[in-house]
């Protein structure tokens, strides 16, 4: 059964009061019917030896009698030693940028995967920074370049040991309690596989004497990941309730999830003009399309901050911007030569559209979106979709101003998908 069908009964407290004899003074809602205990201190370590930057760690979710809900990584990084001739700083929002790829697998089938920068841009649309203090503290985020302390913290980080917390809040079972993952209902164990970003893309560095980007290694001793732990919540339910869960999962249960489709790495020259990106990888039912234009220097070692929009001069020698994101002039969306979304300018998208679809958000970052539904912040209760395969030849037409470097255009379809758990197996419906 689709659990969203029960959503009103489970969470709509007012509906329960209006349609039944339940007293307002009763304990009501989820807690009344589902007694559970939560253990926040479960930790697992990767199989085999610990990977460092650029490597890959595999974590097992053991088959045990509790459901897994929130998940986060606790990463311990050793102190680096920056060469005397250089200065270096970690990029902003390390928690997002350190994840080159994260995927959740069962029996060699990928159920859900994401890249850290996708999540960063998604969250910049979803939330305002004032609501993200806890995240910023966990992940060394919200530290823009420039004098005044914020970037100095990131520079200090390059030569000090620290612990970083990375919330894995894109995975479907971490999003709502009734979606919690039941490893006991599977025949085997599920894997969480993390690819860490290379250190070269997580640190930008300058030569003190010249202010130039460091060509070789700016460190005499590199910081390394010494320990990585997968922390998770375990939800323990009473035996009768648990048996009920397992019976439901044995019969089959469907979870609506959000997924990413990628159309990345489209090139654009540095000159002002109109650039078209063919979106022929995007086929699923779209929640919204999200895109960014970034300097091609994101793939140059030790050069810039991969997900930064703020062009304020860096405090490192040489000054100048370390921002990667570049503003557009305007965009259109075309299908089979017809206009689907007519000219929308930079500020129209970041101010007007964002205020309509993500009220109370921020406009600073150069992250653009094309919505196909209301309630875009909701995972399960969105109001609509647009199937992109049905649109035929889909093209994103960007008008870009002149830029100092060539650019890379990344487009993502935030798409609807379905996870189906049944009879000891779990699969994703559409790929």
């Amino acid at each position: 059964m689709d659990p969203t069908a029960l959503l009103n009964a489970n969470y709509g407290n007012l509906a329960r009061v209006l349609t039944s004899g339940v007293s307002l003074w009763d304990n009501k809602g989820f807690e009344r019917t589902n007694i559970y205990a939560v253990d926040n201190c479960a930790r697992t370590v990767p199989l085999n030896n610990q990977a460092t930057f650029g490597g890959q760690d595999r974590f097992k979710t053991r088959r045990r009698g509790a459901r897994v809900h929130k998940m986060w990584l606790r990463i311990t990084v050793s102190a680096g030693v920056v060469a005397a001739a250089n200065r270096a700083a970690f990029v902003d929002d390390l928690a997002a940028n350190i994840i080159a790829n994260c995927r959740f697998e069962y029996a060699s089938k990928t159920l859900q995967e994401f890249k850290g920068d996708q999540i960063k841009f998604y969250n910049r649309l979803m939330y305002h920074d004032v609501a993200r203090e806890a995240y910023n503290a966990q992940g060394y985020a919200g530290l823009p370049p420039g004098a005044g302390g914020a970037e100095a913290q990131r520079e200090a980080l390059a030569s000090s040991a620290f612990i970083l917390y990375v919330p894995l809040s894109w995975l479907w079972f971490t999003r709502t309690e009734d979606y919690a993952f039941a490893p006991e209902a599977l025949t085997s164990e599920a894997d969480l596989i993390i690819d860490y970003q290379n250190l070269e893309n997580l640190v930008y560095a300058r030569v003190i004497a010249t202010g130039a980007t460091v060509a070789a290694d700016p460190f005499t001793t590199r910081p390394v990941i010494t320990k990585s732990e997968l922390c998770h919540q375990l939800i323990f339910t009473e035996p009768i309730e648990k048996k009920g869960h397992l019976t439901t999962l044995e019969k089959g249960m469907v979870f609506k999830i959000l997924d990413f489709e990628n159309q990345v790495n489209a090139p654009a020259a540095a000159a002002a003009g109109v650039y078209t990106v063919k979106l022929d990888n995007l086929r699923l039912d779209s929640h919204f399309i999200m895109f960014v234009v970034r300097s091609s220097s994101i793939s140059t070692n030790w050069a810039i901050d991969r997900t930064m929009s703020d062009p304020t001069s860096t405090i490192l020698p040489g000054g100048g911007s370390v921002a990667a994101l570049q503003p557009i002039t305007s965009f259109r969306l075309l299908a089979n030569g017809q206009t689907i979304s007519d000219v929308c300018t930079d500020i129209e998208n970041r101010a007007v559209w964002r205020e309509i679809y993500f009220p109370g958000g921020q406009i600073a970052d150069y992250v653009y979106f094309i919505p196909f539904a209301w309630l875009l912040r909701e995972v399960k209760n969105v109001t609509g979709y647009q199937n992109l395969a049905n649109l035929g030849t889909l093209e994103l037409e960007l008008t870009l101003p002149a830029r100092g470097t060539t650019s890379i255009i990344d487009v993502w379809n935030v798409a609807h998908n379905v996870i189906h758990k049944r009879g000891g197996d779990i699969i994703k419906a559409v790929r």
């Binding site: 990977a51 089938k109 790929r431």
Partner: protein
Amino acid sequence: MCGEIEEWQEVKQVDVRLTTTGATTVVQLPSLIERVEQIRLDEIQITGFNGGASGAVYIDFRTNGVNSVSVNNENRSGCMLMIDVLNPHTTFQRPKILGNGNFMTTNSFELSIRLPSGVPVLFTEAALCLTFVCRKSENSLSEVRRMKAAMLPAPSIKDGIAYNSFGGN
């Protein structure tokens, strides 16, 4: 598995040529490949490899829902290849498995070829012959077509009245 194709599978041959560097490249195909179950590397030729120094590299294939299935003691992502600069062309008797998928559909993927240090390897040209092993579509199996043709229309409920093969009520 030695590169067999089962009777419920079909294959698409995909050839990829990369130049200069093994840094992550997005390869776009002019064809949509559906229901992919496995990606195999049958042949590879790398010229001008790593300044003339032979050695092992990790080749990493990625697209939505397909990822490398290899595991290694160095915690690198990808499948290891041994490149001998004196014999740059290799045909694998047992094709290397670059990734497993589950009915994945794609027309683009990311490829990278990196040294064990994680640094993209430099070369003049890397030519790869890949086999995409796909599950046949339901209707391309003659047994399924025959079975479907033999099936009687099942009664269904329409406007509250059960449809039957006698027509009328």
